[in-house]
């Protein structure tokens, strides 16, 4: 898991500073905090199709729909609507 973390979170309060590794879900981009010694199953899972780490809800869904593909669909739809003059 640690080799795939793609971010970190830092909380600074009067009690000190705490840091957690985070990863961004490959399917929905939700930020997941990885606590030290946490059960990997509680952090989500690894999608065996896109080989990306996914958050618990996307892991439960059990379907591979990477964020990049979702963006491509949204951008394609936006271009189509624009070409048809159906946007503001």
């Amino acid at each position: 898991m640690s080799a795939r973390v793609t971010g970190y979170a830092r909380i600074t309060d009067p009690g000190g500073t705490r840091e957690h590794d985070t990863f961004t879900c490959a399917h929905c981009q939700r930020i997941v905090h990885v606590r030290s010694r946490a059960d990997p199953a509680s952090c989500g899972g690894l999608c065996k199709l896109c080989m990306g780490l996914v958050c618990p809800p996307c892991n439960t869904r059990g379907r591979c729909d990477p964020w990049e593909k979702k963006m491509e669909r949204a951008e394609s739809r936006d271009r189509l609507l624009r070409a048809a003059g159906l946007t503001e």
Partner: protein, 145 residues
């Protein structure tokens, strides 16, 4: 490709701190690399919930000019807004962290961890304190496009 920062302040009447979003035309993908949240009011004990939420329509608020980290870069295409008076349509909740008011929260994403806003009209990311609509709050975002 330039890197930009913008400071967003919540002094309005909603819980929203601010947003970065694609313009209605000539948009491009925007990658949020870093977000820092804090309360700039008198220190006290209160519960806050820092949130990052996708929006699909334009937010209404005061325009903030994103500053390029490299002064040689052109002005950002992305729009930054704070003192939001009307929120865009909220979508997926990407981050929600409950904290004490005395705490400051920083999130940094790198590589595949950056939050990407698609190049579609008015798509954006909104920063919000989901627990209070009265406390002053400030957030600094760093993004590239």
């Amino acid at each position: 490709m330039g890197v930009y920062t913008a400071e967003l302040n919540r002094t309005g009447t909603t819980a929203d701190i601010g947003a970065i979003e694609a313009p209605a035309s000539s948009m491009r993908r925007i990658a949020l690399m870093k977000a820092e949240f804090g309360i700039d009011a008198t220190p006290a004990d209160a519960t806050l919930t820092w949130q990052l939420i996708r929006t699909s329509t334009a937010n209404t608020g005061t325009s903030v000019t994103p500053q390029p980290v490299n002064p040689a870069d052109a002005a950002a295409v992305a729009l930054a807004k704070d003192v939001l008076t009307a929120s865009g349509t909220e979508g997926v909740l990407l981050e929600s962290v409950p904290l004490n008011q005395r705490a400051t929260y920083t999130w940094v994403g790198y590589g595949d961890g950056e939050l990407i806003i698609p190049a579609t009209a008015n798509a954006g990311l909104k920063l919000k304190n989901g627990a209070s609509s009265s406390l002053g709050a400030t957030a600094t975002v760093t993004f590239r496009e």
